[in-house]
Symmetry: C2
Subunit: 305 residues, 2 copies
């Protein structure tokens, strides 16, 4: 487990993004190779991304680490300005060693909204998903196979598991964030959902999520917001389960990326094939692998009628 004090050795090379309206700062730089015991020690410095974010944390240190991802909760005091600010707790995420993919992901990028017809899904999205390297979702298959994070699993059945999301600090109920991951590896995304096949999976996730948050955290009916991302960040079907009063910064719960689980269930009840036949519109950052092909393909999409 890396130690927070090593962060004092961080050498800043670039500010990847400053988001004062989200109270978030993303830094690129280097950490000593002692950060990661398993790394080749020939490399004296490891590239690292550090995200510092003001958050609704309890004021105690808290650490979690999984492969190259580490999370800390930390307490900083801030000078009072003209407007008296409450003392600020921050969350520090460290990604070390950071790959080029990580650097791209955390560099502030412009997004556009694109429309995906069923035809564009077949021609562009399906081959893109099929060609993704399996390593990208190894962390998911490790969890599903019972080889990692097993002490965290809150529910497990032959259809799916529920466990805390890695963004959650595990104890602040106000920002509760769980994730349900389906076991079926062929169910890649929202596009694959069919009412006659998957309604029981989705309603079971909803029911178990409510049972868990009720039993463990005293959250009642209506107390959680559940959604599915499209495009998702990994193509192994999963549902986000978050305290209904928790406002995430950024686009994570925004229309154009998130689809409310309740709406998805309601629509599948009306039309089993709705996600097979409907056009789906979503934001893509300019460094997303689908950005260029989907941007080019927009000339084929009817934006008028």
């Amino acid at each position: 487990m890396p130690d927070l004090s090593i962060l004092q050795s961080f050498e800043l090379s670039e500010i990847l993004s400053e988001e004062p309206d989200r109270c978030r700062l993303t830094l690129l730089g280097y950490l000593p190779s002692t950060w990661n015991a398993s790394t080749d020690t020939e490399n004296r410095r490891l590239r690292a991304i550090i995200l510092i974010e003001r958050n609704a944390f309890a004021s105690e240190h808290n650490r979690r680490t999984f492969e190259q991802y580490s999370w800390f909760a930390a307490w900083i005091s801030s000078q009072a300005s003209e407007i008296k600010q409450p003392q600020g707790d921050v969350k520090i995420n460290v990604i070390c060693p950071a790959t080029d993919v990580h650097v791209r992901k955390y560099t502030k990028q412009k997004s556009i909204l694109v429309q995906e017809t069923p035809e564009l899904y077949r021609r562009i999205i399906a081959p893109y998903i099929a060609n993704l390297p399996p390593e990208r979702t190894r962390w998911v298959t490790e969890i599903l196979a019972g080889r990692s994070e097993q002490d965290k699993v809150l529910y497990s059945s032959s259809d799916y598991i529920i466990l805390p999301d890695m963004k959650w600090d595990l104890h602040t109920t106000d920002s509760l964030y769980l994730i349900a991951i389906a076991r079926d590896p062929t169910l890649r995304s929202l596009r694959d959902l069919r009412g006659d096949v998957h309604l029981s999976l989705l309603t079971s996730i909803r029911q178990e999520a409510y049972r868990i948050v009720g039993d463990k955290w005293g959250i009642g009916r209506g107390g959680i917001r559940m959604w599915i991302h499209y495009q998702p960040s990994y193509y192994h079907f999963h549902v986000h389960i978050v305290n209904a009063n928790h406002a995430l910064p950024g686009m994570g719960m925004a229309v154009g990326q998130a689809h409310l689980l309740e709406d998805v269930i309601a629509l599948l009840k009306i039309n089993s094939d709705v996600f097979k036949v409907m056009d789906l519109t979503y934001g893509l950052g300019e460094q997303h692998g689908l950005y260029e092909p989907m941007k080019t393909a927009q000339s084929e999409v009817d934006w008028i009628s």
Copy 2:
């Protein structure tokens, strides 16, 4: 037009909400009656709500006022803390005189998600809308009748108008925020949309919105995110038009409140009656007029299958 310097006379009575993660502070207190020339001067102090929010503003003073709502852009310097913060521009909204409804609206409140079946819409929501006092939407009818904000109107037809939203500072393209308001007073919300009747209205709004943001602000295809709130804050059908890269704090663009215009169009093409027949799920704050009846009615809703 009120003057910013009068804010120095603000007497704080209560902090309605502190949201450090959104960099927002909401204050309740009093302003001198000179704030509002039209007010009965017997009242020496006027109740006022002040919202201070860090925002992506240009650093010049900017003012707008409409009835009891005023907006300022202001510049504050903040002390550097351990993490060097960029100098912070803030937006200051003043609501004065503030009614009890305003105070409730801006007091931090817990929300729950409720499910609305078509039957609950008929029994609870439709009568609620029918009984709302017409004064609540007088500002909308004044705009539609051409009696206010006419210098702001960007587009007007027999079906709808488009104008800047009052939250926008009118010049920062990154946070562009327009609103399209339908003229038909009987079209109250998402629930009323029917494919055979309203698809042409919705696709026309989409087309004109893109034309306007392209012509006036150089924003290209995919550069705006458009959504419809359900429940909306006023029951006169309107569409939010916002820069696709602008992440609003709070729940304004979140699933469980917002519905992407593109999704709404796609669903209405598949099923003209989809919003007549589907269950709709959304967050309600505990001080919303629908909170108690809808919370009570949840016992009738099937949350299992």
